[in-house]
Subunit: 437 residues, 2 copies
């Protein structure tokens, strides 16, 4: 993509309404624009990141045996009356009346809808276990939406639901999702910490939140230092095996948010205790037959008809984009981890109009394919460098007349800032050859 034609309205000034780094940087980098309080439009650069995050989430769901479907945003109120949550949910639920005066709502979550779908389609225990998920926009009418996409009203969520014949099988599904969440966040380049959580309005017996660490995170967390070096992204997991031991290993380590500190345990941990800041990006629940019993989602089994045992599993996909920036930025701008960077390469033509610069830039642009953003504008070098730092692509490749006279272009790694001078051939080999990355 060429900057000269790309719809990338970056801002030089920091918008006054933005209180946190990710909100400021997403506005300044031309990733999003607010369309109403807590409701955002994702501009092309932001959408590329959102899609990459969603695709990694999807891929890990699939690896863990979950199947993707897509439920609508608008739901009939009757389903929520069946479960009893229609009156409980309060003002966060966006209630709607259609032209025939039927009560509808914009789904804040989908336990009811998926339970109805399952009830109408599955009759026998032989179809179990099932884990079904979708990636769909949700609406929660927050009193005070703020922090950009971190606490918006319309937001993109991956929510999954498991269906099992009994509590033991449901525990296996819960563990699958638990481990797949660890892998998901690691693949996004984040350090994820599972924490025992309250179940809140979803209900149920067992629940964990996943927080990722970021210096500017919203809440204080206290965790065992082992979590800091965990990297699950390359870890092979056999999802058909019993994962209880892995889960126990993780849940056995101390990890709490500020309000749940246990000073006695912390004293024993000594220098194994790390205090940090975290952002909640995932939440999983085991709630048994709460919805299936209320909504009559039963299957036949050798023991007669039984209500299915269920769990639900959420990841805040749009929130993750903000969380990724909170975890990866500096004073100059965003520093994207490669798996979610909108483009891998920022190509800077330092002297647009100079035949040698134009020629080498065009060669690189053609060779680097869909993962390069080429700043081909007639702008000062300083402006181009600052904007590339702001939008934070992993690699910057600068093509200037001085360098070319010496046969080189300059390559900068955004993370760390290391620069190296490379020949055009070396750059092509490194980034566009068959061995590239």
């Amino acid at each position: 993509m060429r900057n000269s034609t790309y719809f990338l309205p970056t801002l030089k000034e920091t918008p006054s309404e933005a209180q946190i780094a990710s909100h400021r940087l997403m506005l300044r980098a031309g990733m999003v624009r607010q369309s109403a309080a807590g409701i955002y439009s994702w501009l092309p650069l932001g959408l590329r990141v959102l899609n990459k995050v969603a695709d990694i989430v999807r891929d890990e769901q699939r690896l863990a045996g979950a199947q993707e479907l897509l439920m609508p945003t608008i739901q009939p109120a009757e389903l929520w009356k069946e479960s009893g949550r229609y009156d409980d949910y309060g003002k966060e639920m966006l209630r709607i009346t259609d032209r025939h005066a039927r009560e509808m709502l914009y789904g804040p979550t989908n336990e009811e809808l998926i339970t109805a779908l399952f009830r109408d389609s599955v009759k026998s225990f032989k179809a179990l276990p099932k884990i079904l998920f979708h990636v769909q926009w949700k609406f929660r009418d927050e009193v005070r939406p703020r922090f950009g996409v971190m606490r918006g009203r319309e937001f993109l969520m991956k929510d999954g639901y498991s269906f099992d014949i009994d509590a033991e099988a449901a525990r296996r599904s819960y563990n699958r999702m638990f481990i797949s969440y660890m892998r998901t966040f690691s693949r996004l380049g984040l350090k994820a910490i599972p924490m025992r959580a309250d179940t809140g309005p979803i209900g149920g017996d067992l629940s964990h939140e996943f927080h990722i660490l970021a210096e500017t995170g919203e809440s204080e967390v206290f965790v065992h230092k082992d979590f800091i070096d965990l990297d699950w992204s390359r870890r092979q997991v056999d999802y058909d095996a019993d994962l209880q031991e892995l889960v126990d290993e993780l849940t056995g380590k101390y990890a709490v948010t500020g309000e749940k500190r246990d000073r006695a345990v912390e004293a024993r941990l000594g220098d194994q205790l790390v205090s940090a800041r975290g952002i909640e990006v995932g939440h999983i629940f085991y709630f048994g037959a709460k919805y299936s019993r209320a909504m009559n989602a039963v299957v036949s089994s050798p023991n007669g008809e039984v209500p299915v045992e269920m769990g639900s599993y959420g990841i805040g996909v749009s929130r993750l984009v903000g969380a990724l920036i909170e975890a990866n930025h500096d004073a100059a701008g965003i520093i994207w981890p490669e798996p979610v960077a909108p483009f891998q390469f920022g190509l800077i033509n330092l002297k647009k109009g100079d035949p040698a610069c134009d020629d080498v830039s065009e060669q690189l642009y053609a060779a680097l394919g869909s993962e390069v953003l080429y700043d081909d504008r007639d702008e000062r070098a300083g402006v181009k460098f600052a904007e590339m730092d702001l939008i934070g692509l992993p690699w910057q490749i600068a093509v200037g007349p001085k360098g070319l006279a010496a046969g080189i272009v300059e390559v900068k790694r955004r993370a760390g800032g290391q620069r190296s001078e490379m020949t055009l051939e070396a750059v092509l080999n490194r980034f566009a050859g068959p061995q590239a990355r």
Copy 2:
């Protein structure tokens, strides 16, 4: 994917509420389920088709120079008051009041929102032309939703918007979209006919609808026979060239819906006239400064500040899934064109438990990758064949003990029904080898 674990609730009986072929077949093939009147959940098989259709639409938009962004589903009413459409739009618009009593709405289309986005981001004519599009759920509160996803209330639409400095440049953008629509529908395996159309509530001077031909289509159409053999999918188009001649060639040929017939022209056409049935799947508009003037979307230019010239371009993505089935089915079920088939291959193990059948089936399953649906259930052969015909995958590969004894498996093309006996090696070469398809 294995049928034994796939969430694919097919129906043996035809649901009584379904009046047209695509609705019946989408329900029976386990592609969708109705969650409320005119509101559907897309089950895994249906979602695979929806995604493939959307991706082809996106790809052709990109080739024509359009850039993807993503606007929210919920919009503030103020924008529609600025354009003057808030009161005009009537009961089809789903109006919503949030917890702070602010008037909102579920977007039925996005002219206002994109104009506001453009107005706040683009100040100079140098940033033009721009074509921006998104693929997002829309809501239109139809009085009588029916025909499944063909006339639903919540539906997926690709809507794009062009911004140009003057009428001449706007005509070039219109032509780009015109030609890209012809290519899009051809790539989906459909015969598309452009027809001059009324502009309706969008407004403007120039508009074309795109109908695709299907025997069970909703409206009668009368068209020049040249349209029947048009295939744009392999046609190279230079979008930077002047496309007026191509557009004139297409719009110069007779093509009308029933209510707009011109008997005199038809008499002259003689046997060049074809009568057929069509389904509207796209609609494009040039409306000049209608929204930009009302909403003050102006850019600086050598002639001072001018309101931008705009057009809008819609494709009904979820409707296309229904239209594809109307155009491609027989008494036994759906016949998917390869580009949008949920899976390319249906692998049928005719004798589950037979070591040779299981072994060869597993080999094929592994070799055919993500594009194979493997019926590994313990069911009668007749049930399996009927279900494969129903869901309509392009190729069926049947593995049975008799065939294997003779060293062969049976391959059937769903379209046309031709069967051939092939060795396992030949099947692997044909469908999974380096030269496959």
